[in-house]
Each structure stands twice: as structure tokens, then as C-alpha cells.
């Protein structure tokens, strides 16, 4: 059961493994604070829509399931948008149109269609949390790399006298600005994807070695 939660973070991470929702990932990963806000929004929408899709899966006829899912998802996105505009205006401003675009984020419709419409409430809830957290962590990783190397800062929430921006000495005066621009997003995601593929391949070849070596020790020197 707990596996439904952790698979979204590692084995089926939406950004690095199943490569869903890349468009908003590329666009909003310019600052750490945007990644946090976007992540929170996506977790909320995923949770809300997976819960409702799972609850209503017997009520919604097969033939109209897609429009029904879209209505449910769009409602949650509109709630996030309105609440952000009212209570977190600066976040709403920096995310801009990408809040509304959560509606067409493939992670959400994908999980509703592939998972929540077939599973029980509990499993859907864990799946939503796992996928949401996995998306947020991936976004955080990308935005941290881009912002630290591309601008020399880490932007968090402003609290009191702290303006929310951590400046890294040495980097803030001469950052590699290309990473903060659009090509940088593609480069960072490409390199991270390569890194995760390499890790996965190394793990698999080690397992293959172990499997080869273990059952037939008599062959001697089998590698």
C-alpha cells in the first residue's frame, strides 16, 4: 500500500521517469519560490481530482469520463487560481498563466484516467500525494540548479525583514545566465534525465552481475 506513495517519488517520478507535465516544468523552474508554489498547486489539484474521480468512478458513465474528469480538474484549478489571487498575490503574479494551465497538465488527467478511475479511494489518495510530491521535488531540483547557477540566488518567501532572497557570494555577480533562460531549462532537464538513466542502468547491470554470479559459482570467473 505504501508503495503507491513512494513510486511517484522515485520509480515513476512524473518529471524524470514518465516525463509528464514538462511544459510547466520548463516554464516555472526559474526560481525556487515558483517551484514551491506550482508544486503546492499541483498537489492540491491532484489530490482533489483523484479523490473525486475515485469516488465518482461508478457514477460517471464510461463514454463521458473524459469531459467529466476535465470538469472536476478545471474546478479545482479555478479554486487554486482564485485563492492564490486573493491570498498569495505575488505568487499568483510570478506564476502567471501557468496556474490556469494546470488544467492541461498531463500528470493530472493522466493519473485520473490511468489510476484513480480504476482504484479505491485510499490508493488514489496515496497515488496523488506521491505523484504531487514527486513532481514538486523534481521541480525543486531543477529550479534550484537553474536559480543557483543562473542567477546566483535562492528565492524563498519573504518573512519580516528577510526579503526572501539568499544571495550566493561569488555567483551572484557573474552567474551563468543561460541556465535561467529557456535553453537552460532544457539543458538541465536533459542532464538530469541522463543522470537518472545512468543510475538506473548501473543498478540493473549490478543486479544482472549478482544474478549471474550467484547461482553458478562452479563456472568460476563468470563475470
Amino acid at each position: 500500500m505504501f508503495n503507491e506513495f513512494t513510486k511517484g517519488i522515485f520509480k515513476e517520478n512524473p518529471i524524470f521517469i514518465i516525463l509528464l507535465g514538462l511544459c510547466p516544468t520548463l516554464a516555472v523552474s526559474t526560481q525556487v519560490v515558483n517551484a514551491l508554489g506550482m508544486g503546492a498547486g499541483v498537489i492540491f489539484v491532484l489530490l482533489g481530482s483523484e479523490i473525486f474521480v475515485s469516488l465518482l468512478k461508478d457514477f460517471i458513465p464510461e463514454r463521458i469520463r473524459i469531459p467529466a474528469f476535465i470538469v472536476i480538474i478545471a474546478s479545482f484549478v479555478t479554486i487554486v487560481d482564485l485563492v492564490m489571487q486573493a491570498y498569495a498575490p505575488s505568487l499568483s503574479k510570478s506564476l502567471g498563466v501557468f496556474v490556469q494551465l494546470i488544467v492541461v497538465n498531463c500528470i493530472i488527467l493522466g493519473r485520473a484516467e490511468a489510476f484513480a478511475s480504476k482504484r479505491k479511494l485510499g490508493e488514489s489518495l496515496l497515488d496523488a500525494l506521491g505523484m504531487g510530491v514527486g513532481f514538486t521535488l523534481g521541480l525543486l531540483l531543477i529550479s534550484a540548479i537553474r536559480e543557483i547557477l543562473g542567477a546566483g540566488t535562492i528565492t524563498l518567501f519573504a518573512v519580516g525583514s528577510f526579503d526572501g532572497v539568499i544571495r550566493i557570494p561569488g555567483l551572484v555577480s557573474q552567474p551563468a545566465r543561460v541556465l535561467a533562460l529557456a535553453p537552460g531549462a532544457l539543458l538541465v532537464i536533459g542532464f538530469l534525465k541522463a543522470l537518472f538513466n545512468w543510475l538506473e542502468m548501473r543498478k540493473q547491470s549490478r543486479e544482472a552481475w549478482a544474478a549471474e554470479a550467484a547461482p553458478a559459482p562452479s563456472e568460476g570467473g563468470a563475470s
Binding site: 516554464a27 516555472v28 526559474t30 526560481q31 515558483n34 465518482l56 457514477f59 460517471i60 458513465p61 463514454r63 463521458i64 469531459p67 467529466a68 470538469v71 472536476i72 478545471a74 474546478s75 479555478t78 479554486i79 482564485l82 485563492v83 489571487q85 486573493a86 491570498y87 498575490p89 503574479k93 510570478s94 506564476l95 502567471g96 498563466v97 501557468f98 535561467a180 533562460l181 529557456a182
Partner: protein
């Protein structure tokens, strides 16, 4: 036939519940959003005219770019106007507030609501971005509406967001003409 009716009713039910919920949320958040917008506008007006008073807004009809004008006065004397402009950016309309002198010279600019791309066009919200327009707009210094009208160190700041820059500068140039003509 019966199937279609049932399916239609079910979809209707889902949409009705969704619409009702959103109506409720909107009723709660709308007053907060309106109040926040009014506060932001007042703050921006104060920021643009620290040394003078802005009067009541007047709607400008039949103009694609200029939405509203606010008279600006200092000790009872008319010293120009503050315009609300609608520029067309990469992500749709941009609301721009500009203070002009009577000859059309730009004194201060602020980008308000917009849907520009975060990290690119959004940078125009930064006060430093607008400094390249200050003191232009009169007959000696036209508003820089092309990239080659900017000094090289400023031209870098619009890289990757040319559409935003063109939207802002064209609106500002139109506003300068309007302000220099005294509002015609």
C-alpha cells in the same frame, strides 16, 4: 435514447455541482481580490507621483491603447497626466501606468497586471527595466521603440523578450503623443 438522457443528466449534475462550488469560492475571494487591486493601484499611483497629486480617473473612449487618464497637479497647477495604457505583450494585454509631463516626457513607468512569461517578459515588472524609457517621449528624445535605439548595455536587458519590449514601448510612444497633445 434512454442512455443518452441518463448520460446527459449525469454530466449536467457534475457540471452543476462544480459551478455551484466555484460560485461559492468566488463569492468569498472576489471582495478580497477587488480590495487588493484597489490598494495596489493606489500604491502604484503614489509611487509614480511622489511629488504631486493625482486626480480622479477619466475613461478615454475610442482609443485602442489609452484606457484611462488621471490629471496630475502640483499646488493647483496642471503638470501633466498619468495614463493607464493597454500594451499588447507576448501573453496578451499588459496594463501599464505611466506619468507624463505636459510635453510628453516620461517621468515614471510601472507595469501592472500582465501574463508575460515568468523569467523572460515578466522581468519588465522590475523597476530597473523601465529606466530606459524615463526622460524620453519629447521631441529631442523619442521613445525607443526599436532595439537599435537603445545603448548596448540596455539592449541586453530585453533579450529573449522582444515582444514584451515592443508592446511596452509602442504603448508608451502612443501615450507620449497623446500627452503632448494635451489629451487629444
Amino acid at each position: 435514447m434512454k442512455d443518452v438522457v441518463i448520460i446527459g443528466l449525469k454530466l449536467f449534475a457534475i457540471c452543476a455541482v462544480a459551478a455551484l462550488t466555484l460560485g461559492g469560492i468566488n463569492a468569498i475571494t472576489e471582495p478580497v481580490i477587488i480590495q487588493r487591486r484597489a490598494m495596489e493601484l493606489q500604491q502604484a499611483l503614489d509611487e509614480l507621483t511622489p511629488d504631486a497629486q493625482t486626480g480622479e480617473a477619466v475613461e478615454v473612449p475610442d482609443n485602442q491603447v489609452i484606457v484611462k487618464r488621471y490629471p496630475v497637479s502640483k499646488e493647483g497647477q496642471n503638470v501633466g497626466m498619468l495614463l493607464e495604457l493597454a500594451g499588447s505583450g507576448y501573453g496578451g494585454e499588459m496594463k501599464i501606468l505611466v506619468r507624463y509631463d505636459q510635453d510628453g516626457t516620461i517621468r515614471a513607468v510601472k507595469l501592472m497586471d500582465n501574463s508575460e512569461t515568468p523569467g523572460l517578459g515578466k522581468k519588465a515588472e522590475n523597476p530597473v527595466y523601465m529606466e530606459k524609457f524615463v526622460n524620453t517621449g519629447n521631441s529631442e528624445n523619442p521613445v525607443p521603440v526599436r532595439k537599435d535605439m537603445l545603448p548596448p548595455e540596455q539592449a541586453d536587458s530585453i533579450t529573449g523578450a522582444t515582444i514584451t519590449y515592443l508592446g511596452v514601448s509602442k504603448a508608451l510612444a502612443e501615450g507620449a503623443r497623446y500627452a503632448a497633445a494635451g489629451g487629444d
